[in-house]
Amino acid sequence: MTTPHVRKGTPPKVYVSVYAVLLALTGLTVAAARFDLGRFNLAIALAIAGTKALAVIVYFMHARSAGRLIWLFAGAGFFWLAILITLSLYDPLTRGWLPPPEW
């Protein structure tokens, strides 16, 4: 990550292509939301947003040329976010499973 040619390397063409992809994906997510796909609506929306986020991280934020350590921390951030969301959702999603105790 410190070698100069890597730091300067990205040609503007790459940025512009990523930009085009991001715009296209924005259009795609709008289009996909117009159809009623049940629970897949959410999955598709999140998958597209995730792809866009990854593109921004890899190309615009230069994670591609960053060291392993930075990947580790960025990954930890999202992993801990996943812990937060799944474990807090576990409660409302399982509330009806057991009947309330009879006293």
Binding site: M1, T2, P4, R7, K8, T10, P12, Y15, V16, V18, Y19, L22, L23, T26, G27, T29, V30, A33, R34, F35, D36, L37, N41, A45, L46, I48, A49, K52, A53, V56, I57, Y59, F60, M61, H62, A66, G67, L69, I70, F73, A74, A76, G77, F78, W80, L81, L84, I85, S88, L89, P92, L93
Partner: protein
Amino acid sequence: MTTPAHHFEDLGQQREAAALGMWVFLVTEILFFGGLFAAFAFYRSTHYDAFARAANLLDWRVGAGNTAVLITSSLMMALAVRAARLGRRRDLQLFLAATSLLGALFVAVKFWEYAHKAAEHLVPGFDFAVEGPWAQETRLFLGFYFVMTGVHALHMVIGICVLVTLWEMARRGVFSPERHALVENAGLYWHFVDIVWIFLFPMLYLMGAH
């Protein structure tokens, strides 16, 4: 000018520390917004229908337009960082200006949206008036809308202030190919704020589009 601060051994070490520090800061930002996303997911699971209906109160066209604005500003930011790496001062100034102007446009649109919501009595805690069976859940949804986009907009405003400062520093020729960690870090921040919006847009605006 190109000597490291006193407690660093060399510029490489200083640059790596700055980069790692910024990424760790972004991790804290992920979790900061993450609390909001977790709360939103919590209610989305318990009030699915009500939230989908309430989402239709938002105009997805405005949201999509603003997404395009923000993505464009991210492109400008990436080009600004590139200009800083190559030591092209005029390009750097140009792209920093473009980034912050697009950011300002985003915030302006956001406030225009807010003003509209206020006119329609859709601001919780401020003359809120929605009738009907879903009124309470609508209020909850709009509460999220204002808090999430508000915190995001606050990040945008901070970012714009940083960019304007950097523009002035660039004008004075502070940055060089060896020394521009501030530009790099501002770029990381700006892209991160962009990513937050990339998730906010479909979650808030598109939930009820079908």
